[in-house]
Symmetry: C2
Subunit: 590 residues, 2 copies
């Protein structure tokens, strides 16, 4: 049996002490005073702990079942979905013109973390809907927005994203799904899409599929791809539901995890679709939503790790096994709790320092997205676009590893499904794969983002770190945080320099080091976060705030600095070994 407690205090500390949101010059941020955010987060936390978390194991055990073309979600999901809708949680950061509450994205991110920690598979139903909402909101006509958005904001209708086909995932240029133009301006969509999360289920009146397909005349590869709205039920002019469209679920996949979410094969058989955005610009339309979508998956990485951490911490405090080597602690009991043992402590500190650092990174990135979208700040847009593949790739990798470490604390009991911690491992695994597998994130980072706008954004990132160090080095207390950050940043810069010097001659030299680069960037970003947290903690201590809480932050940050940041030197060494060791064998020699 697992439990979940919302990390409200940590979230408030990040929002107000570290990010100082209410003082930021971003539209909507002025309303984010501590009282308001506390009220929102507390209510969301209750829903997460009391309603969503108890359904997590149920969803894992029951899964989604396809019977006669209908997908039955696990027992209790529908009632929980209704509760989520009734609380207005699906509308949090949506446009007030369509029934949304218009809160900044950073708030939706904090709330989303709690829902994911409590029940990742469940939260995907509204998460996917939000992605489809954003696509229609950004690219839809006024009529399309009026038709679909209000129902999607409320989650009366849910949404899906249809990209992958059996023979192509990353390489969408191979796509076969066709869109044939009709005389009335609509299209007939025909093809098979796979891995469609929430593709079919019993919790919504209608499902709005966004489908990538090739319409005639667009040319080869990804250039010919357009994006279409394909509703499960066609929508009449008065907004009522009309005929069933030519789209049907072919199969619900048996997966390693996220059993509570229906991952569907969707068959489109001359289904009526409506062009969304410009013809043959479907890929571009998808890309505009990519930052939020990938941040959402990077969030899953640490949010599941948070849940796993909480449950391993509880076990480490309760389970009596062995004695503290420096002297018994629980002298009245038959043994000491696991948490006395240094290697258990090492494991817990790995988890804690990752989760809290990743939360800071994610909130910071979300606030940059707000800055970009709400204030039109191009520098913020550039920086966040650079860091999003890092946030997605690094946080899902480490999130999975930390879930594995949490399971390890449970020993053999962690391998028994009844105890629930193995589910965190199985669920977390998918986040490394979907929304662009992590190798593709590394490729995006090194092959595209590093050189975007002549390398302006990565230079801005380095300047930001340098500026932070300069600004704070007069405070001697900051030294344990600034010195390792400086060293890590130097390693990252050396790696970027190596890429620049070699990539022109041999692009493989950069790509062979791309995964290491993503990882060292991730460590450096978390290092920067811990330095920012330390600064806020010292300021809080100076102001007489809660010393126990702030000192724990400082200790956790120091742990990250001395135990994790040394990884950047290893990654640099690997990168500087170049392409040769990686590419030395011919394909036949494997």
């Amino acid at each position: 049996m697992t439990t979940y407690t919302a990390p409200l205090k940590d979230m408030q500390f990040l929002l107000h002490d570290v990010l100082a949101v209410s003082g930021r010059d971003i539209p909507g941020y002025g309303d984010l005073d501590a009282g308001f955010t506390a009220a929102v987060l507390e209510e969301a936390g209750k829903l997460a702990s009391d309603v969503l978390e108890p359904l997590n194991a149920v969803g894992d055990r029951e899964g989604c079942v396809l019977e006669n073309g209908v997908v039955r979600t696990p027992k209790g999901f529908k009632a929980a979905f209704d509760a989520m809708k009734a609380g207005g949680w699906t509308a949090l950061d949506c446009d007030p013109d369509y029934g949304g509450q218009g809160l900044p994205y950073v708030m939706a991110t904090a709330v989303g973390e709690m829902f994911v920690s409590a029940n990742m598979a469940f939260n995907m139903y509204q998460g996917l809907t939000h992605g489809a909402y954003s696509a229609i909101h950004t690219h839809g006509s006024a009529e399309q927005k009026a038709t679909y958005l209000p129902k999607m904001v409320s989650c009366d209708w849910t949404g899906t994203m249809n990209l992958t086909e059996p023979h192509c995932g990353t390489d969408l240029g191979l796509m076969r799904t066709k869109a044939e133009p009709q005389t009335d301006g609509s299209y007939k969509i025909t093809g098979t899409k796979i891995f469609i999360s929430a593709g079919e289920h019993d919790m919504a009146e209608n499902i709005i599929h966004l489908v990538l397909a090739k319409a005639p005349g667009g040319g080869e590869g990804t250039k010919g791809i357009s994006l279409f709205i394909v509703p499960k039920f066609l929508v009449n002019a008065d907004g009522s539901l009309g005929a069933r469209n030519g789209v049907a679920v072919g199969k619900v996949e048996e997966k390693m995890g996220i059993h509570g979410n229906a991952t569907c094969v969707m068959n489109y058989d001359g289904a009526t679709g409506y062009l969304l955005g410009d013809l043959h610009k479907g890929m571009r339309a998808m890309f505009t939503m990519m930052n939020e979508a990938r941040l959402g998956v990077g969030l899953q990485g640490y949010a599941v790790a948070e849940a796993a951490y909480q449950n391993s911490l509880g076990y480490a405090k309760d389970r009596l096994q062995g004695r503290d080597v420096t002297g018994a602690q629980n002298t009245k009991g038959p043994a000491d709790p696991l948490i006395v043992h240094p290697d258990i402590r090492r494991n817990l500190m790995d988890q804690k320092s990752f989760v809290e650092g990743a939360r800071a990174f994610t909130f910071w990135a979300a606030s940059m997205i707000d800055q970009s979208v709400r204030s039109g700040d191009e520098a913020a847009e550039g920086l966040v676009s650079l860091l999003i593949p890092v946030l997605k790739g690094f946080q899902t990798d480490r999130g999975f590893e930390m879930a594995v470490q949490a399971q390890q604390i449970w020993g053999g009991h962690g391998y028994i499904e009844d105890n629930g911690v193995s589910q965190f491992v199985r669920d977390a695994r998918i986040a490394q794969i979907y929304e662009g597998a992590n190798g593709v994130q590394a490729l995006d980072l090194v092959g595209r983002k590093l050189s975007t706008d002549g390398g302006k954004h990565v230079m801005a990132f380095f300047a930001l770190i340098k500026g932070f160090i300069k600004e704070n080095e007069a405070d001697a207390r900051m030294q344990p945080y600034l010195d390792p950050l400086k060293a890590a940043s130097k390693d990252v810069q050396a790696a970027a320099m190596f890429f620049m010097n070699t990539a022109m001659k041999n692009p493989n030299a950069a790509l062979a080091g791309s995964y290491d680069f993503m990882t060292m960037m991730g460590h450096t970003c978390l290092g920067l976060m811990w330095a920012k947290i330390a600064k806020a903690a010292f300021a809080g201590l100076d102001g007489g705030d809660d010393a126990d809480f702030l000192n724990a932050k400082l200790a956790t940050g120091r742990y990250y600095m001395v135990r994790q940041l040394p990884a950047t030197a290893m990654h640099l060494a690997r990168i500087e070994s170049g392409a040769d060791p990686v590419m030395a064998l011919s394909a036949e020699a494997f």
Copy 2:
């Protein structure tokens, strides 16, 4: 659908070119000429590929089902078990006095690898039996041996090991299972044991449980523990089966993986047990079998990774996605195979260089066990005892990580259970947990083995590396292997020195770095193996042997040296940060 091909050529190369087994002065090794080992390995490989591998997915899907006190194994398991018995594979390295074939342990290790790669869960039935066989063979009376061993060698009767109880795993001193002496010299065993692999099933006539329990008068903690033979069916004086004993399966656990093996709760209710070995010396009796048992689990780590590697390699060669950034390779096709991409290649090289290095480490360790057991070589016994926790902990950690990397190559398809690669991940996970969780391996290494016999064995390990380097440094071709090995070895020595200098004052300083030490030792051992392999490869090339094969070895070894060995510096940095960062928070501050 997964497949498996036995790595016969690599095994032969290791046995004859790297380890030169037939020239070793160990009883039984003289018979291990290349023709003989090839014949044995080839036959074992056929059984693995043709019989065991096709049942791997079946076992995962069906699991073991408890009905009316009987455990039904997956369809096909019984026939495969009979085939394994008929081929004499269960008797390979057993004592000829009891029907065994008396082959060296290194041969059983090579054969075992193939069986584990093909079907880990299945192979545990005979693996556990072999463990119980060894215990009775080492500690049993002449009568006990005569009664049980012939049937266990043939696997007509299988065996189990019963240590864990619901409230104690690592800390066996808390054990509650009781043994009450009877007037006839037997004992009545009462208590509950959990996580009993192969505890009950339908493939054997009888099951011989070895059970740790507390008999009166032994004192507190582990001192009072004795080891008992508790047969499922009592054995009559003439060897026929008698009455059902008072032991029954209470539950078959639902686990994350190894579904094909029945993990049982076993209830002992006044069951008749016979003392095995000395009274109150049960822990010591268990320890004498620990090297082989832990080697067997470390073998599982890389053997499952080998299977995962093979299936990710096949996919990387077949799946067309994207184009080689340096120019299209598969110009007639719509895209290039995955294997052209540097990050896929990096992933594959990680797997390949680990699996082949770990195989060498395991065969080498197995040959040292032969040297210790068959030649009574105490230095070999000391060295292998030092390295066994490394072999178990490091290889199962990396084996799991490599299975995860293999799954990653499959993208979303790797997350779908039908495709079979997710099973490798779920199965591999248990090897990090059982037979002493890896944190316990690290504790054993740093808290016990480093200082055994005044540190003699770790000094011998360092001397062995130094000697190898000295012996080969005149060959300039060896430099890319020797230099990184020297650097890694230096890091390990510095870490050991740090422990020595701090552990007296603060044992936590050593224990906080124990996991890092285990990991850096693992990298160094694999580095040593790759240096040995390189030496053999150069010798082979000089002799005109298969250049493609040997050059691939050299390239794979170089990869390990430049891409993996730099990790030792990171681990050293962590270790040298000491206990403070790890132990800074009080338990309440988490």
